[in-house]
Subunit: 374 residues, 2 copies
């Protein structure tokens, strides 16, 4: 293998695949990045067995000169640092003596020990003919609005993922840790010929969204039996799926409500944020909300520290009053997922879920369970 | 105690003293901030027994209204968070029922449990008549250029401090961890009537420099037998001194040199930074520098990872060549302390200290010991 490549271009692509470099040293070859040079261009692959990321840099006279094709595995951490820190426009990479890699530019010369391509696991990143397409910004928004509600508890595998249900042109995403639930429903511009109901690990899909740019490029979602492949720009990102069946969440949503209030999102967020200061020392940072006439009162107390009370004006849909306690953190995280100015909170009762929606947007629903304080 | 005070002013002063709030819960009252309200204004004090910080906010019609004098200790973490998060121009603080503190502003009302002033340790922050004065920016620079070279090893107490030697109008500051040494010598604008030789804990004086602003205000240094008090603006900062005698460092500096080179500071820094990539896995990140004719060659190698070589042009004062190995991190940290463009490195021999100076500034000297590689 022998090539000369623009530094910034190589660095950008190394950064993309680097997220999949294994930091555990169980299988040493997985701490490397696979460089695969053909007449068509350079393919970089990294995998930690959980996710696999591949990018392709097509040959282009100005960006890359290919002198000799070949395949080699280079230690990910070191090649990344060397390329990042080299102050040159172009970098030369050459394999000499089978497994010795020479990296040089201007007055800098590095010799790295490579790993044989034979040690690298086989990776099959073949795509499907029928896939789902979503604008990358919309995709990023869906993940940011749902992933925070998944569980971190590895003993509850299924809840650590986001449930994707695709039927025709409807895609429904659910995330829950059993205390709160985030649901986003969108219309696909092109219906899916196949029906899907899969669970994608939340941390993997979050990692993928970090690669997404600010452009209007689509994300392709290729769903297989036990894995999913996302394709975006020149990047292919593969994740395993979580096996098992996701709980049916539709029954959780109350059909009716006894009271709906509308309130400025930032004001409500700040009121909960302040009231929760006094709950820092506790596991469940419980605050109590009381609606009395047109006033919302947010209270918190701790026998050791003291107590707090915040008031704000609200609009109601009827004359009902209510008093309900919940985790300040969960409601604040739910509120943060909205982009509008005004949210609607629906109440069914003191021990029933609170539903939060944007008044101008029906796609996103956040549900938070109350906490009994007596 | 009862007062109304501008939120931003109170927050600014709470932030200053908060650095001294104890995070260990050994003495509960030390997690509090002492509020002392007199006709003259509000004094805030925090202390963790190692450092004590006090600020004074003088009364001023627009900033503060004093309704009732008094003293109370308020939990530092909670008062700080409440004041930070309140969205009001003015905040009211009132002691009711002896130890209950009421904090309110507009629609927010907080009741905190206070601690009696009788539990707070006696703090004597009396100043001296003769003290040393230094421009605050110069003081900050001295500390930044020396503190990094102190030891973190608590079993070598003396080396965790910066040695201040003041004689007439000369102030010499030394910091060393026994592998490298930073020395800064400045002329005081007003000579000190007393001679001092004290060791100030590096982390305490670094904490103090974070309070210093960007103005031309002087720092006053009041040195006592076992403590030092810094005064700046409305802040009084007290630290213990480290007892014991600081090693005599003057003998460490070689009188002569066999070779001096001058080199661009940033270029040299980047060359060491890159070469050291291959030494990340080791405790001592050793690189080897070779001067051969007018070329500087920086080498590093690791049997597992590979080897690197960087070249750059230099100017020399004679025809000598040299080869010397050192810790990349120590030399990089020493280089970072200079503000000019060009530095001079002096060599005495392969196993003798390397001396680094700015070619245009005689005040700062950095010394790094070489590492034997054979």
């Amino acid at each position: 293998m022998k090539l000369k490549i623009k530094k910034d271009l190589l660095l950008e692509n190394l950064n993309k695949v680097s997220k999949a470099i294994s930091t555990k040293n169980l299988i040493p070859v997985l701490s490397g990045i696979k460089f695969e040079l053909t007449k068509e261009g350079l393919t970089l692959t990294a995998s930690d067995n959980d996710i696999t990321i591949q990018t392709f840099i097509p040959v282009n006279e100005e960006d890359m000169t290919i002198d000799k094709e070949g395949i080699i595995i280079i230690q990910g951490k070191y090649i990344l640092d060397i390329v990042r820190k080299l102050q040159a426009e172009y970098i030369n990479i050459e394999v000499i003596d089978d497994l010795k890699i020479l990296i040089f530019a201007e007055n800098s010369e590095y010799n790295l020990n490579g790993i044989s391509k034979n040690e690298y696991p086989k990776v099959n990143l073949e795509l499907k003919d029928d896939f789902i397409s979503i604008n990358n910004k919309i995709f990023k928004t869906i993940i940011n609005q749902t992933s925070f509600a998944t569980s971190n508890d590895e003993s509850r595998q299924i809840l650590t993922g986001i449930n994707f249900k695709i039927n025709g042109n409807i895609m429904e995403c659910n995330a829950t840790d059993s205390y709160r639930l985030a649901r986003k429903v969108i219309n696909l511009s092109k219906p899916s010929p196949v029906e899907y109901n899969v669970i994608i690990p939340s941390k993997n899909v979050l990692e993928f969204t970090k690669i997404l740019g600010d452009d209007e490029e689509d994300v392709e979602i290729h769903i297989f039996n036990n894995k999913v492949i996302f394709k975006y720009d020149n990047v292919i990102f593969q994740s395993r799926l979580i096996s098992g069946s996701y709980p049916n969440t539709t029954n959780l949503f109350p059909k009716e409500s006894i009271l709906k209030i509308t309130v400025n999102l930032n004001d409500l967020y700040n009121v909960i944020d302040r009231a929760s200061i006094l709950t820092f020392d506790k596991d469940k940072n419980v605050v109590t909300l009381e609606i009395k006439n047109d006033i919302l009162i947010m209270r918190s107390s701790s026998s050791e520290i003291g107590r707090g009370e915040e008031k704000m004006n609200i609009n109601k849909n009827n004359d009902e009053d209510i008093k309900i306690s919940f985790s300040a953190r969960y409601v604040m995280e739910a509120l943060k997922s909205f982009t509008g100015n005004t949210v609607e909170l629906s109440f069914v009762g003191e021990v029933k879920p609170i539903i939060i929606k944007d008044v101008d947007d029906d796609e996103l629903t956040q549900l938070v369970l109350p906490i009994r304080t007596y």
